[in-house]
Symmetry: C2
Subunit: 360 residues, 2 copies
């Protein structure tokens, strides 16, 4: 469990140095510098049956400074490497939006943030690292609570420790938490829940103690930094991950993205937790637990039909629950359990579903 | 600064008891129980020139159990009082949505959450208390960072202290923070910023130390719980509040709502901080600081024209900046300062604007 953060930072610095070195070597040899990385075009995003996730195929993108059409993205990419190298060196972080505006300080032109976001993704590929590793974060954040002692690695806080059960509203998963070392935990699992209200309910009902769990609020479809955190908790602490969502197709898809990744992050296989389990709310739970429910809208039904054709949803509970949603045409939120009292979800539903999930 | 939380809780319990007592007394006297509170109909929302905010006029709503049309909202309201009394007694919290579903446990019918939200607002009026006082919170949350030591009052954490500068990603403003006592602070002001990215930048650049400030991320238009926190920081600690938003009409309106409240919370005058100052980004700052900007959309322009007619926007910087937005037809985000380097906003802009605001 030791010093993975400083290791990661050192690795990123080294990779950035190598990238710069390649450019300089080309120049020294009087060759036009170029950078090569896998293509993310739709045709190169393929579903891997074995990994059960989308990955990139074998096509490459070549950005050559010899090609006049390439000069723009090539220099943007080189500038970005320079910029994040500075960020990492100074121990600062940046947001996707900040990167866009920062470029103007260097007279590097991006038409809009879409263009700079694209180049950030290019750099993820060149380095084979998630942007969280080079200190670029999104705006949205989610939260964590439970018995996990962390040690900060950000400037001004190095060596300071914090136990994540000390603030009952939960801790924001921001840059300093994402880069912290995991020092000690008594937790035996991670429970990822879709919304803040249920997160607070779980904390109040001491789910972290009763189930020896770290509880994470994904705040809807989890931001990348939260998936990054889930992955680290699973990998570095060996904790199984269980996902609790609303009983609808969007909830099912939140679980799917945590487990199998998304097509537009196909270049970042390491963000997935393939052994994570979706414990519910399933369509069959809506029926079994006689939950208050609402009719699915036209958009819900269309979404379910789309997902049915998605290769990630082949077989198992995934296809079965989609079919059942389409049959019952109803959906339920997590709060619907309150019909049976505020603690029904933690006293009855959760233990039953976790028992079931562990047997899966 | 002492024990305001337990005082607030005791007061709410007393008010709930009084409300119940009124019903019982009526029954004992063989009179149909009724509840009376100010009307929130549009015709009863009036702008108060002196207070510079929307308040409720003198019309009342009478909910009588004698009137067959009133029985439904009357019994919903009585049930809600029973439910939150239990919440407060048990030291639990609930969300707006949870209240809706919980009603089904008691066979109290609400068609949808809109209806239960309405009744929650009714109860705010009957008790003259914000729902945060009786433990009902929304989903959304924002964050706070800085040198403020709090003492929890929630079950399991009573008496525990925490300093809000100990986690550099900031602390979520959830139920336990909202109800905590303020024990000690070295801060001399509160800086409310509109978005997480800038919040993180401020923390990294040690704005809390340089400006002796508590920094709050309002996460867009601040949720009620955040306005509640701003009000407490101002009232209990005597701290002035400065608001930093994007340079657009929505940013201007975020500041306005913190300062003068909103029409749909006209019944809760105590949520406003009327002495708070909007330090920018003003339309004139977009020009003065030569910020990268985008054209205003049709919707932006329409919104500005609407606000121009709003009585809260009469005169002062409010009208002047709206006029200028409409003249330049451009808008800038806070991140636009990154054009001049990541620290320009904290090194140059913020000190200049705070100096200006203190002279206002």
């Amino acid at each position: 469990m030791k010093s993975t953060a400083s290791l990661r930072r050192r690795e990123v610095k080294q990779l950035l140095r190598q990238m710069g070195q390649r450019v300089y070597t080309d120049l020294d040899n009087a060759v036009f510098p170029e950078l090569v990385f896998p293509s993310r075009s739709v045709r190169n995003i393929v579903y891997d049956e074995g990994l059960k996730q989308y990955i990139l195929g074998s096509s490459s993108i070549r950005r050559s400074s010899q090609n006049i059409k390439h000069i723009r993205p090539f220099s943007q990419l080189v500038w970005l490497a320079y910029f994040v190298n500075k960020l990492v060196a100074e121990g600062k972080t940046s947001t996707l939006r900040d990167v866009f505006y920062s470029s103007q300080a260097y007279n590097v032109e991006f038409v809009d943030q879409d263009e700079s976001d694209e180049i950030i993704t290019d750099l993820e590929e060149v380095l084979s690292k998630a942007r969280e590793d080079f200190s670029v974060y999104p705006e949205e954040r989610s939260a964590i609570f439970g018995d996990l002692t962390i040690e900060y690695t950000v400037p001004g806080y190095e060596g300071k420790k914090l136990n994540l059960s000390s603030h009952p509203d939960g801790y924001l998963i921001g840059p300093s938490l994402s880069t912290a070392e995991f020092v000690d935990t008594s937790a035996e699992m991670v429970l990822a829940v879709e919304k803040g209200g249920i997160f607070t309910r779980f904390v109040e009902e001491k789910v972290h103690k009763k189930f020896k769990a770290l509880v994470i609020d994904t705040a809807g479809q989890p931001p990348r930094s939260t998936r990054y955190m889930l992955k680290r908790l699973h990998q570095e602490l060996g904790l199984p991950v269980y996902i609790v969502t609303d009983g609808d197709v969007y909830g099912e898809h939140i679980a799917m993205v945590i487990i199998s990744g998304s097509a537009n992050a196909a270049h970042l296989r390491e963000l997935t937790v393939s052994s994570a389990k979706w414990v519910g709310v399933w369509a069959s739970d809506v029926v079994k637990y006689k939950l208050p429910s609402n009719p699915m809208t036209e958009a819900d039904i269309k979404r379910a039909q789309e997902l049915k054709k998605d290769p990630r949803y082949t077989g198992g509970i995934w296809q079965r629950e989609l079919d059942l949603f389409l049959k019952i045409r109803r959906k339920s939120e997590l709060e619907a359990f309150s019909k049976y009292g505020l603690t029904h979800i933690t006293d009855k539903y959760l233990p039953e579903k976790l028992r079931e999930a562990k047997g899966m």
